[in-house]
Amino acid sequence: MATVTTTAARDRGARAAGAAHLRRKRRLFWPFAAPALVLYLAFLVLPTLATVVLSFTSWAGAGDTPKPNGVTNYTQMWASDSFQYAFRNTLVYVFLGGVGTFALAFLFTMVLRDMRGGKVVRAILFFPNIVAPVALGMFLGFVFKYQPGKQGLANYVLEHVGADAAKFLAPANVTGVVTASLIWASSGFYITILMAAVDRIPPYLYEDAELGGASPWQKFRNITLPMTWDVVGVAGVLWTINALKIFELVFVLAGPGTYAPPNQAWTLGVYVFDRTFGSNGTPDFGAACACAVAMIALVSILVVLLRRLMRRDAIQF
């Protein structure tokens, strides 16, 4: 009997303590969450809303007052060749660059897992990511230099294996060159993320596959990919967001670095820059906001599509 009461009392006490704890927790929620929320509102939500509002105005952004002009900025933007180039190039970076980067990343995850010195290789592959894109762009500008008799590294190699030097930096070729540079520069980052996920896979699965005589591709197809699927999805979202706002690499590699490059090489980021600080003409912050809104919309659509595409039941292990 006594024992019963004591347990009941203990339970009651515990419940009371639990409830008090919950109450305290609830009371602490706002003091902890408020600062972050305020900052988030002030520096992200409100500016984003302001961008949307301003995109429906005619505003130079140089001390004048925004005047509402409906969807003019959007219609003008869509009809402009510069935007069309920028839109096309940006999609090339997102999709071609994405396919290339992930193909490379998967390739390395196949090999790196049971490679000796894999950790070192991983670190080396991550290197290009540490360098600022601007510096990378300038460096690659030298690498891809075309000057008969004084070729840059890329053409020097080409000429020494008996091929013709290529005009890498011609406006028509820049998108391809930047895509390749991008794949080279960012695959290390995604390899690092994917390898972190691969390392969590129990080794016995691979040992089992090994005994069954599975090829590296079969191991990748049947073990690595399904087990890292959710991480691949997250990496895909990260890639999409990063690729959509590509600016520095193109800006520095395709042009003189002070002024916007020829519009054939533009990305949406360059378009925004040119409409604000980039051109020698009147700034047009209204048009720039319209392009920024288009970028936000594009990111949202692509990310939602990607999430749907990647949706699967999580594997428990």
Binding site: A79, Y146, T258, T276
Partner: protein, 458 residues
């Protein structure tokens, strides 16, 4: 982010005049120290109340222009007691720093850039104030006023007028463009009279085993020179601007001058140096300085920019600079010379406009302004100052009373806030120079794309 990129790369700029670097190498101009150590002239206009003003400079402190300005600040403070708070922001200061600042109250009193840029980015949205009163101020040489000492062609043109019709800029440097060559390598080339004379020079360069023309093809407004220079000679001052602003685009076709100019332009690209179209500025210009090619068509900043590069190389190479203008192409009726003015403007919200304006007048005093030719190797809008040797031929062309003055590119780079050039002209121009469009197709594309552009703008 964009700002950071721009700021870190400012020194790769051009177009805004001579580039950075100190003129202390073996190629230093004569008289630099003499100028910097000369006594200060008296200031005729002393601000009554202002004790300081703020200036956002398009130069960096260690550029030759920066040195000249610092000397002027020192003298101005000595003679008037007014301190200049300067920020050395570089070429893009007017867009990357000033434009956003105009939305606030923290604006500088004084800033500078070329008249087309200031007009488009600052004056059009209403960010400048009239500087008409400056022209009546004395410069400290007896009774001479700013108006008395400046050449009218350097400030008196429609592109220097704000919405109320007032001048918004007072020039202190004028620029033009030319065919540059090294006399020691090319010999004493005389001004060609016809396009055939010009191409003969290029043929000779090739026969001598050199490339004929260096051209940094990644800068659209460098590629613009050839067609605009030739077209101006057919249609005169304002003709290009009118065609570019023509809502129907038909002017490109109805005025035969444009097709003729395109025909003449198409003769040039075969002389361009191999790799011009896959270039990264300033590599091709440097190839000219290194002697790989014989001619280079850019603005009057060519000598100072390439001299600085050679100084940094330290190989002891010297160039004996000389230049000539485009000849009159067959059937052309306008003997033109381009001009671009760089000068000071005062913001509308300036708190110390009085001091800023007094400084503008003081800077135009001959003892101060002579630093622009002596130290920075640039031309000034005063006819009575010494001309740097490198620029003698350009100056002669600009002072030639028979020549018709045209604003650089006839101002088409500022049309529709610069968008017309980016969307309509540059792609067509690049294709013409690369031989992807023939002259007729080039003119047709300008007409068609121009009409589309304006339809979309209205």
């Amino acid at each position: 982010m964009a700002c950071a990129v721009g700021a870190s790369l400012l020194l790769a700029g051009c177009g805004g005049g001579a580039d950075s670097g100190s003129d202390t190498g073996e190629n230093a101009l004569p008289g630099v120290d003499q100028y910097l150590n000369a006594p200060c002239p008296e200031a005729a206009v002393k601000p009554a109340t202002d004790k300081e003003f703020t200036y956002w400079a398009m130069w960096t402190a260690d550029e030759p222009q920066g040195k000249v300005l610092q000397k002027a600040f020192k003298c101005f403070q000595e003679k008037t007691g007014v301190k200049v708070n300067v920020q050395w922001l570089g070429r893009k200061a007017y867009t990357q720093n000033l434009v956003p600042a105009l939305n606030t109250d923290a604006v500088p009193d004084l800033f500078d850039q070329d008249v087309s840029k200031v007009g488009a980015a600052i004056a059009t949205p209403g960010g400048t104030q009239s500087v008409d009163d400056v022209f009546a101020m004395k410069v400290g040489e007896g009774d001479k006023t700013v108006k008395d000492v400046l050449s009218p062609s350097s400030y008196d043109f429609p592109q220097n007028k704000d919405r109320e019709g007032h001048n918004f800029m007072v020039p202190y440097t004028v620029q033009s463009s030319a065919w540059w060559f090294n006399k020691d390598a090319a010999g004493d080339v005389q001004q060609p009279k016809t396009m055939d004379d010009l191409t003969a020079l290029f043929d000779k360069a090739k026969a001598d085993g050199k490339a004929a023309i260096s051209q940094d093809g990644d800068i659209p407004f460098y590629n613009m020179y050839f067609f605009t220079q030739l077209a101006e000679r057919y249609v005169g001052s304002g003709g290009l601007n009118k065609a570019a602003a023509d809502k129907t685009g038909q002017l490109w076709k109805t005025d035969p001058g444009f097709l003729k100019a395109a025909n003449e332009t198409a003769k040039l690209p075969k002389y361009f140096i191999d790799g011009w179209d896959a270039a990264k500025f300033p590599q091709v210009q440097q190839r000219w300085a290194d002697g790989d090619s014989r001619y280079l068509y850019v603005g009057t900043w060519a000598p100072s920019e390439t001299r600085e590069y050679l100084d940094k190389q330290g190989a002891g190479t010297k160039i004996n600079y000389s230049s000539f203008q485009f000849p009159m192409p067959a059937g052309a009726t306008h003997d033109t010379v381009e001009q671009m003015s760089i000068g000071f403007a005062v913001t509308k919200k300036a708190k110390h406009a009085e001091a800023a304006k007094a400084f503008i007048a003081y800077f135009l005093n001959k003892d101060i302004l002579s630093g622009i030719p002596a130290v920075a190797d640039n031309l000034v809008p005063r006819a009575d100052l010494a001309v740097p040797d490198d620029l003698k031929q350009v100056k002669a062309a600009m002072d030639d009373p028979k020549k018709e003055h045209v604003l650089q590119y006839d101002g088409i780079d500022g049309i529709a806030g610069g968008k017309w050039q980016t969307d309509v002209f540059d792609p067509a121009d690049t294709s013409l120079l690369k031989g992807e469009l023939n002259p007729q197709q080039f003119v047709d594309q300008l007409a068609a794309k121009g009409a589309d552009f304006w339809k979309n703008q209205s």
